[in-house]
């Protein structure tokens, strides 16, 4: 034995009140280690805050849109040449015919407000969205009596004007932009001071349809939301019954045999298959082989069903497992069959847990994008609302995450704002679903 150990052994009755050097060092190491842990948690929190912060910061502006309040003289000579106010006759005048009216009205507004500008009256169209003309026409066709009167319209401003009010477009960037000039921005500033140009909450962003690449100011989530809604109906309608049936079999009836093993292994592996692979499955099986229509929410729903089934099965089995065996024994004891004991007693008791798992699975499916890309739910401009149940399932549509992806790919930065805004809408749904799941769990949580 060396001296060192002997010395240690020779120092008995070491006081525990005084902390020795070594213990101090060890405690310092302890503090450092603890600090690493705190740093890791802090890093996670910082990431979360930055992520949510950039979503909110970049996205809230999408819910506001710039409008121009402009009185338009609906010249009968231009919109109703026959003069008989017959809507069918008037429908022959295309939006093209309405454009001069609006340009004129804009120019007039500018003069009326006493704004000095070098912009030619003919170039006033850079101020408003090209959708404004259609808005004019729709209003006139719906109410032909307006012709000949001066009607005040609330029209969407052009995307660049909107960007200017939201600091997305600056005077520097305008210099390189052939869509709009600095002169236009002067007009906007002046009109804004007069209260003719205002930013308002934009319901059309939430409820409206997608628009073509050149009209970001008009694009909305509404149609894609319906697409997601119909997909979720499919997912719920298929994955809940199938998931519950499969779980009941595996948890309550399955014998210990090869088939059961194969199913179990399959489910746990499917849960980890990349979602894009489910997209390939959907493309090959549903679209190529079964020839279902492309881009249809039905197909999207089917693919997402297959994808969420493992999640739902896993949580449903956990819920069934948490029902104590004594319940089953009690039912069997009064002469119920095994099937009756499961359906009359175990299943109702497990239902809150099953629903919680299902909602969480649905939330997952709602946010999933990759498989939808492959079955054609992207690259498609969702402008038409489905007109009925079967059209909702079968007509081409987009879905919320696919719509966001679509916007993110478009070149105009105005679409980035919309993509962020779309994310806010998507996250509101996800948070709501998760909140429902949590409430459900809290309310029905049972301790055996």
């Amino acid at each position: 034995m060396t001296d060192a150990t002997a010395a240690a052994a020779l120092a008995p009755k070491k006081s525990i009140i005084t902390v020795d050097d070594r213990t101090q060092k060890r405690n310092a190491a302890e503090k450092r280690f603890r600090a690493y842990g705190i740093a890791a948690i802090a890093a996670g929190m910082v990431f979360l805050v930055v992520l949510l912060g950039s979503i909110l910061l970049n996205g809230v502006t999408a819910f506001q849109q710039t409008f121009i309040q402009v009185p338009v003289y609906l010249d009968p000579a231009k919109v109703d040449k026959e003069g008989n106010r017959d809507p069918e006759e008037m429908a022959k005048v295309s939006t093209f015919g309405y454009k001069p009216l609006l340009i004129e009205a804009m120019a007039e507004l500018v003069t009326e407000r006493g704004i000095e500008t070098e912009i030619a009256p003919g170039d006033m169209d850079a101020l408003f969205s090209s959708s404004a003309v259609a808005q004019l026409r729709d209003r006139v066709l719906a109410n032909p009596d307006l012709v000949g009167e001066t009607v005040s319209f609330n029209i969407l401003a052009a995307s660049r004007v909107d960007g200017y009010l939201k600091d997305r477009v600056s005077r520097d960037s305008v210099a390189r932009d052939k869509n709009i000039d600095a002169g236009h921005l002067d007009i906007v500033d002046a009109l804004r001071a007069e209260g003719d140009v205002v930013k308002r909450f934009n319901w059309d962003f939430i409820l409206g349809s997608d628009a073509s690449e050149s009209r970001p100011e008009q694009a909305g989530m509404g149609v894609a939301m319906l697409g997601s809604f119909f997909m979720m109906l499919v997912v719920l309608g298929l994955s809940l019954p199938i998931g519950v049936a499969a779980s009941i079999y595996l948890e309550e009836f399955a014998p210990q045999n090869r088939l059961t093993d194969v199913i179990e292994v399959n489910i746990s592996n499917l849960a980890a298959v990349p979602s894009i692979v489910f997209g390939i499955l959907g493309l090959a099986v549903f679209i190529q082989f079964m020839e279902f229509p492309q881009s249809a929410p039905l197909v999207g729903g089917l693919v997402l069903t297959l994808m969420t089934l493992p999640t739902i099965i896993i949580s449903t089995r956990a819920a069934l497992k948490s029902v104590p065996p004594s319940i089953r024994d009690a039912a069997l004891g009064v002469g119920a069959s095994k099937m009756q004991s499961v359906f009359h007693h175990v299943l109702p008791l497990a239902m809150p847990g099953i629903l919680t798992g299902t909602i969480i699975g649905l939330a997952q499916a709602l946010g999933e994008t990759a498989p939808l890309l492959l079955i054609g739910m992207v690259g498609y401009i969702a402008t038409n609302y489905p007109d009925g149940i079967s059209s909702g399932f079968l007509d081409p549509n987009s879905a919320m995450p696919a719509q966001i992806y679509e916007w993110a790919k478009r070149a105009d930065p105005a679409y980035y704002e919309r993509a962020w805004g779309g994310i806010i809408i998507l996250l509101v749904f996800l948070f709501a679903m998760n909140a429902i799941a949590i409430l459900l769990r809290r309310k029905f949580e049972r301790r055996w």
Binding site: M1, T2, A4, T5, A9, L10, P12, K14, I16, V19
Partner: protein, 265 residues
């Protein structure tokens, strides 16, 4: 060898190693230990007996502040080892636990080799400076734990591969390796078969030469076999404390008598 500075004959039954005065332990709302005072003597085996749930293990865990690791536990009162208050703010429980070793109910070897299991304590406390030192400490501890002959050829085998009795003796050796002065044993034989129990009991008797041993047991026979002092606990109270012979042959309290004769338990 651990008490070389003290002449052998100075160690008498009167040396008090641990003094506990008015100790109370609460777990949340449960009052687990109620105002217990006890003096534990050095070089003695002291047994805590009593029906399960009487708080004897909880009380034992106060001596090395293991209750600190449970969030809801609160300990009040005064516990001194060698006259030093172990709940003093300046006391680092890490240092305390090096001085007060513990062996648990279920053998709990780490999932490491037999060697590493024993070397773990000396390593973290810096008791060895060279590899040879460490080898030496490990061997001594394993010999002291009466398991050296069984494992000397397979020191690198995993400790979890030993039999239950061997595992427990390994855990005792592991506790001894940090050169403690007190050894706490929480029902060390409850998970063992009778033969292994016999071996461990023999070892405990051996250890009395160098350590103050406190053992919690629910087996009265075991208490009678290995201990010199016995404390009887009931519902968190210390009912009776005295020489083991005295307690078992002539209990003062009727509750003790009922327990010993098997009427409560």
């Amino acid at each position: 060898m651990y008490d070389r500075t003290f002449p052998e004959n100075a160690v008498t039954a009167q040396d008090i190693k641990i003094e506990a005065k008015g100790v109370n332990v609460h777990y949340g709302d449960t009052h687990a230990i109620k105002d217990v005072s006890v003096d534990i003597q050095d070089k003695t085996v002291t047994a805590f007996i009593g029906p399960s749930g009487c708080g004897k293990s909880t009380f034992l865990r106060c001596f090395n502040r293991m209750n600190d690791t449970i969030d809801s536990a609160r300990v009040t009162g005064d516990i001194r080892i060698d006259g030093e208050d172990i709940y003093d703010k300046r006391v680092d429980p890490v240092q305390l636990r090096a001085k007060v070793g513990m062996v648990f109910q279920k053998p709990n070897p780490f999932p490491k080799s037999i060697y590493d299991n024993v070397a773990y304590g000396p390593k973290i406390h810096g008791l060895a400076h060279t590899r040879a030192d460490l080898d030496d400490i490990v061997e001594k501890a394993l010999r002291r734990g009466a398991i050296w002959d069984e494992v000397k050829d397979r020191l690198q085998a995993p400790g979890t591969g030993l039999s239950g009795g061997q595992q427990q003796r390994l855990c005792i050796a592991r506790a001894i390796a940090t050169e403690p002065e007190v050894l706490l044993m929480d029902e060390p034989c409850s998970a063992l078969d009778p033969i292994a129990t016999g071996q461990v009991e023999e070892l405990i008797d051996e250890l009395r030469r160098d350590y103050s041993v406190v053992i919690v047991t629910h087996s009265m026979q075991q208490a009678a076999r290995v201990s010199q002092k016995t404390a009887f606990f009931h519902l968190g109270n210390l009912v009776e404390y005295g020489d083991t012979d005295e307690i078992f042959t002539n209990p003062q309290d009727p509750k003790t008598e009922s327990y010993i004769t098997g009427r409560i338990g």
